[in-house]
Symmetry: C2
Subunit: 385 residues, 2 copies
């Protein structure tokens, strides 16, 4: 049936763009060594602090989030020092790879895919197997759709004067209640193509005073991702190297939108969509991949028995223009993920569920059409009354 | 519940914009007396012929559709001549108002709102009450969501050598199978903010040789909407007066998209959405306003007993950002209209139905959540297998 099919992006990054923010970048061709740009950058940094929910300074790099993750490690550590890593999926494993690349010894606490990192176990290692210069974890693990308890872990690390707590909040920001200053998060990392609703290309990192002091003594090599240098430059509204100005303009516009909407409302929006998706998934006779502590950023859904998730993902794309992500690594073929981070509203979800129901039925999964949508509508009604 | 709410336009004009076409207009600042513009205009006229499904010349005015309607009358008629008008709603009544403005005597065949114009009755008047210089009608009446049988009427008018057949196809184009050359439509009128997916500001009219000959002798005053002058100018790729160049660039881009999609597929897309909406409406315990011959361009749905359609329209806007139109004139408060003309896909409809179900339930109408969506899904499945 050849007809109009619009593309709908439901991946956990990139996410749907805020067009208003994009359009501003079309007309603002600022040079980066001008007062106009410095002012825009300072306002952006202020709004990033609001978005991060922190009083700490934030640095911005022209890079993907991984660049800022590497920087967290290379800026905090010295050769011979050790880190404690909590991993619950592919992005936790990235911390391990980064440490390996810098020959940093690691102690790794690993959760099976679908489970959160066992924080009690991490606390035990922290007490018995130190010293660690840093503890690294994800706020939400994007490969599995699971949220980690960074509050409890952060408060434990805060007791250790020489250990910094580093949180990859790339998909956690704007989807999850995070309180870096209360919980002792020394470095928190974000990326532009997530809940900030703009294209990829910028990474952000907040830096506590504890982290700043640690960096003064650390000895691992770094240059582009030098947090201290960048922090000093940005205090003057400039970045050390040529910034991705159009993305900074986009970010400035998107953060204004987020401030107007309210950080808490952006998070509540993702929470509503996640809850509605989980209930829709059950109503459709499916099971959720997250065994406990599901994230708001995205919902991972197990493919029904006998149907590969890859097939579902392909059919959604070819028949409805809906772009979801399949499982990563060993999870490929077994589950798919629907994102909620950033610029999504309730009717976006209704649309994707309407498509999913048809695709599941065509693939041979017994499903009552409309029942996933109904479950989502009931969640909406519960929250709106 | 303050969260993200995106605006979704479901009015029968303006309609959702094709962003790609809009973006081209941002970079093309053509002067209108240049070869570059003439070439673009010629390509646009060729594609308009494809879109209209005609070999006739087409003129383009910077105006709303009503301007081209006025032009059809002022270019064909002379003082003392008479017209036969078929009206089934507010836009049919516009033909009557236009004739009155030019002191042209009319014979009017009127259908009650929700019914199509009785073509047999028009044919009888044509045979018994002439002579008429023109017969005027709508292909689809946007105020009621009803399609008129222009084929039968056109073939009857074609037998009359001195009478021209004028069809307002402003919402009919791109939603309805129309064959001007086979059916004897001498002037067919369209507007830019409809199924062509671009903003308001351009009107189109096709001119048969019979119409062109009639215009040579007609005596009503006209200047800006002079079809003959415009036809001559456009043969050279120019318009008589300054054209709305950015809209012409948009139109050029949108027609390229439509040609790629296929005129028949664009029409089938609207037909599918209309059928799905009608069945969804019944599943939700509602009734359709069109008693027979419902249009593909939009579906008019009666408000349930005891609930004003105005209330439904307001709730959809405030809670979900969905913009529908209430009934016009005496129909206000009694029915609402969901448009299908142009850049809509199936999931757009799923989204609006999901919102409608919630709004109806909150307003006190007994509705099984998800049942409207399911009815639409079943129509989709019937057509896709």
């Amino acid at each position: 049936m050849p007809g109009i099919v619009k593309e709908r992006l439901f991946t956990p990054g990139p996410t749907p763009l805020l067009l208003e923010a994009q359009l501003r970048a079309l007309t603002m061709t600022l040079h980066h060594r001008t007062d106009a740009f410095r002012q825009l950058m300072r306002e952006t940094l202020d709004n990033l602090r609001y978005y991060f929910n922190t009083k700490n300074d934030i640095v911005v790099f022209s890079s993907s989030g991984t660049g800022a993750m590497e920087g967290a490690l290379s800026n905090l550590l010295s050769p011979g020092e050790r880190v404690l890593i909590g991993t619950a999926g592919k992005f936790g494993e990235r911390w391990v790879e980064l440490a390996k690349a810098y020959s940093i010894e690691t102690v790794v606490v690993e959760a099976p895919y679908g489970h959160p990192v066992p924080i009690d176990q991490m606390k035990k290692y922290l007490e018995t197997s130190g010293p660690f210069r840093a503890v690294l974890i994800q706020a939400t693990e994007s490969s599995t759709g699971v949220r980690n308890d960074v509050e409890t872990l952060g408060k434990a690390v805060a007791q250790m004067p020489d250990c910094c707590f580093v949180v990859d909040a790339i998909t956690g920001l704007g989807t999850t209640d995070l309180r870096p200053d209360e919980w002792g998060i020394d470095i928190m990392i974000g990326g532009s193509q997530k809940a900030t609703m703009i294209p990829p290309g910028l990474a952000f990192a907040s830096i506590s005073e504890k982290a700043a002091r640690t960096m003064e003594k650390s000895k691992l090599p770094r240059y582009y991702f030098d947090y201290t240098k960048e922090r000093k430059s940005l205090a003057k509204g400039e970045s050390s190297y040529t910034p991705a100005t159009s993305l900074v303009v986009c970010l400035h516009g998107a953060l204004n939108y987020i401030k107007e909407l309210g950080r808490e409302n952006l998070i509540a929006n993702a929470a509503l969509l996640a809850e509605a998706t989980r209930e829709a998934s059950l109503a459709l006779g499916l099971t959720n991949f997250a065994v406990s502590s599901p994230a708001n950023a995205m919902t991972s859904i197990n493919a029904p028995a006998g149907i590969e998730s890859t097939k579902i993902v392909k059919a959604l794309k070819s028949q409805f223009g809906v772009i979801l992500t399949d499982g990563q690594g060993s999870m490929k073929g077994h589950m798919f993920r629907i994102a909620h981070l950033g610029y999504y509203d309730f009717l976006d979800l209704v649309a994707v569920l309407g498509a999913l129901e048809i695709v599941l039925q065509k693939a041979g999964h017994k499903v009552e059409l409309g029942s996933g949508v109904r479950a989502a509508q009931n969640v909406y009604l519960r929250h709106s009354s």
